[in-house]
Amino acid sequence: MKGYFAAVVIALLVGPVAGRTQAPAKATDGFDRLKILVGDWEATGEDGKPFTSNIRLVSNNTALQETFQTPHDDQMITMYSADGSRVALTHYCSMGNQPRMESPVVNGATDEFVFSFTGGSNLPTPDSAHMHRLVLQIDDADHFSETWTFREKTGDNKRTFNFVRKK
């Protein structure tokens, strides 16, 4: 009888927690931390032109899809997913190549995700122009930035985009 009551008490305690598994109050790993970016964002380019980003959960919440819209990039996609305790991304560049990058081991409290190049497809040579690095910085629930490093034969160029959550 004692065992039965213990089971009921455990079920009552654990049940509500289990029900919250899809929306954890606290990120449990680096990929979960990135999920707080889900939503619509806007930013201004260095040329003063506005553009937007939408981040949404896909594939039963196992991947994040970022869709970037600018006057030059129509529906440019970046996919983020967990790779063990690292976070991996593939950038489906509007230039037509697909660089892949990965962060080091990250955790639920990480604010700065540094993605380094691990390979790419449709890239004739390693010197062909491509995105080579991304530093994604979460400032708070309504602000984050992306600093992309663009690599080509003449060297590396960085561009930073500061995003504000759309209200």
């Binding site: 949404r56 896909v58 196992t62 996609i77 063990g84 697909q98 497809s121």
Partner: protein, 187 residues
């Protein structure tokens, strides 16, 4: 010259109606031309490569799995037309994404599986007339062991403009299982 001055009321009305009709036709053709122009530009008459051939799948599809349960799939062109995104919806898979891209004359895909791994596959060299795209496994992310359950092969068969099939091979602990989905374009 005199004829125009001697038009009766009926003739005048007929000429007026003709002018109005011509103006309406001109306005409509201008409007339709402007409206359809971008659509035509996005759907080229003839594909020029294997990847372009796959783009003929852009649109919304409904299908069934082998047990007869309904599934849905949406294809859209993204990243300035350089990638094709398939979003699959079933009872068990919520917004499961597969991304298709050209890799030279081959077509590559990454399947963002709802199981949480991301297998990558690639076809041999394809052409604009290819109807069967056989994607072979080239690697995966978030797969602890090669024997963990994952999608390992896809054969995508374009039957005609309104029908296609996908046969996925699931690999797990040395065993392969196939699942075929038949899709029909939504009207």
């Amino acid at each position: 010259m005199a004829e125009s001055d001697e038009f009766t009321g009926g003739e005048m009305k007929t000429k007026f109606e003709m002018m109005v009709t011509a103006a309406v036709v001109l306005a409509l053709s201008t409007f339709l031309g402007a409206s359809l122009g971008p659509l035509r530009a996005q759907t080229p008459d003839k594909p020029t490569s294997g990847f372009e051939r796959l783009k003929t799948l852009v649109g919304e599809w409904q299908g069934t799995d082998e047990s007869g349960k309904p599934v849905m799939s949406t294809f859209r062109v993204v990243s300035n037309g350089t990638a094709l995104e398939e979003t699959f919806q079933s009872e068990n898979d919520n917004q499961m994404v597969t991304m298709y891209t050209p890799d030279g004359s081959r077509v590559a895909l990454t399947h963002y599986c709802s199981k949480g791994n991301q297998p990558k596959m690639e076809t041999p060299a394809e052409t604009a007339t290819t109807d069967e795209f056989a994607f072979g496994f080239t690697g995966a992310a978030n797969l602890a062991s090669p024997e963990d359950a994952h999608l390992h092969r896809l054969v995508l068969q374009i039957v005609d403009a309104e029908h296609f099939t996908e046969t996925w091979t699931i690999h797990e602990k040395g065993r392969d299982t196939k699942k075929t989905f038949h899709f029909t374009r939504k009207k």
